[in-house]
């Protein structure tokens, strides 16, 4: 055990941190300590392994027939895999379908409105219809999305972890919608759009609480020219989404 300042407090938080239930403030404080304390980092790793190993206790159940071939077909376009099926354009996965349908629930009015657009949810049965309506009414030509992940490890653990999703809509006007489900540190993040030419465009701020956050804004640059969207905060890892596949 180390006696470094802050160890006692941080260690109290480690079980919650490993289980993913620490609140934003606690998580931030503990992670900052762990980043500079090898003993506590080892301790956190040990808890994290215990938590991860709990997932091994779920029973093994054989999936339905055809599961393996379906999986191989889905990964084949990226992997030059064994399936004879011609590689289609990137097949949207379940998460993409789900989120794109949710985006649609914003409705055409929100998509067309000048200024900021906000996230709304709607019953699933209305979503597909809303999606089509949004594209039709808004004369949209392009809807894309990218996973938001923790892209810097400066502040400790969490690197590579999924943080949320960024959606881009090319229409009149074009907009971005950012949903954050997880961030190592809660608070206000600056939103920066990086275009293909390397230029950075500040497009506002998103407030991320313990339960995440959502922010939408109209953007002036063409969605197709956006290479990434970054959420930055001086005391937290940057969250990045790449919109190009």
């Amino acid at each position: 055990m180390s006696d470094a300042p802050g160890c006692a407090h941080a260690r109290e938080q480690l079980p919650e941190l490993a289980a993913g239930v620490a609140t934003g403030e606690e998580r931030g404080t503990a992670l900052r300590h762990v980043a500079g304390c090898p003993d506590c980092r080892r301790e956190l790793d040990a808890y994290a392994r215990t938590v991860d190993d709990l997932l091994l206790l779920a029973p093994e159940i054989e999936p339905p027939a055809g599961f393996e071939s379906t999986v191989l077909a889905r990964i084949a376009p990226d992997a030059d895999g064994p399936t004879p099926r011609p590689a289609p354009r990137r097949r949207p996965g379940a998460a993409w379908r789900r989120w794109s349908l949710r985006v649609a629930s914003l409705g055409a009015a929100a998509a067309l409105a000048a200024g900021t657009v906000w996230w709304q949810t709607a019953p699933d049965r209305h979503l597909a219809q809303g999606y089509k309506r949004t594209l039709n009414v808004a004369h949209g030509s392009y809807l894309t999305a990218g996973a938001l992940t923790v892209s810097s490890s400066t502040w400790g653990t969490g690197y590579g972890q999924r943080a949320g999703t960024v959606f881009g809509y090319q229409g009149d006007p074009s907009w971005l919608l950012i949903t954050v489900e997880y961030a190592p540190v809660a608070g206000r993040y600056g939103v920066i759009v990086v275009t293909d030419d390397g230029a950075e465009h500040r497009v506002g701020h998103i407030r991320v609480g313990a339960d995440g956050g959502t922010y939408g804004t109209v953007v002036k640059v063409p969605i197709q020219t956006i290479s990434s969207v970054e959420l930055t905060r001086s005391d937290a890892p940057t969250l990045t989404a790449h919109l190009k596949y």
């Binding site: 393996e68 992997a79 996965g93």
Partner: protein, 168 residues
């Protein structure tokens, strides 16, 4: 898996599909959705294979963590189905199939989890399997947030102690 070798890909899927689908079923409890979640987990694993760090654990736990996250996404969408931690607890407690070669220590963990008081085990399951925040765990358990937090913390500490993990 990221090698691009079709045979290796097939072998990987075949090796882990029962674990992945089993975990998805444990969390989402609907075969059709569990199948979609399990597929999504393999696709995500494939795309992010470079992020796997062998020093941080075995590939099975990495893949299952991806599966858990995909399943949690699916559960969050299906707000119509209330989460019942008893489902998972029953599965965890059951005299299930042996964990298989290379996973013998999982049986030790199962015993340690089963040995916990239920009030400590349930918050752990709700957090680890369902990804619920403490506030929701407290609501389900009908206790103050501080109590849920204390139970989860003590449970995890006891789990580690039960596994013979020391602080040294």
């Amino acid at each position: 898996m990221a090698s691009g070798d079709p045979a290796a890909s097939a072998a990987f899927v075949r090796r882990y599909q029962a674990r992945v689908f089993g975990l998805a079923m444990t969390i989402v409890d609907t075969p059709a959705i569990a199948e979609e979640v399990a597929q999504e987990a393999f696709v995500r694993a494939w795309k992010h294979a470079a992020a796997y760090d062998p020093r941080r654990g075995r590939v099975a736990t990495w893949l299952l963590a991806i599966t858990r996250n995909a399943a949690i996404d699916a559960v969050r969408v299906r707000r119509d189905r209330p989460i019942d931690p008893a489902d998972a607890v029953i599965l965890l407690d059951r005299d299930g199939a042996p964990p298989g070669p290379g996973f013998e220590d999982a049986e030790e963990l199962r015993e340690a989890l089963a040995a916990l008081p239920e009030v400590q085990r349930r918050p752990i399951v709700l957090a680890v399997y369902y990804g619920l925040p403490l506030a929701e765990i407290a609501q389900i358990e009908n206790v103050p947030v501080g109590t849920a937090k204390t139970r989860l913390r003590r449970g995890l500490i006891r789990l580690r102690a039960g596994l013979g993990v020391s602080d040294e």
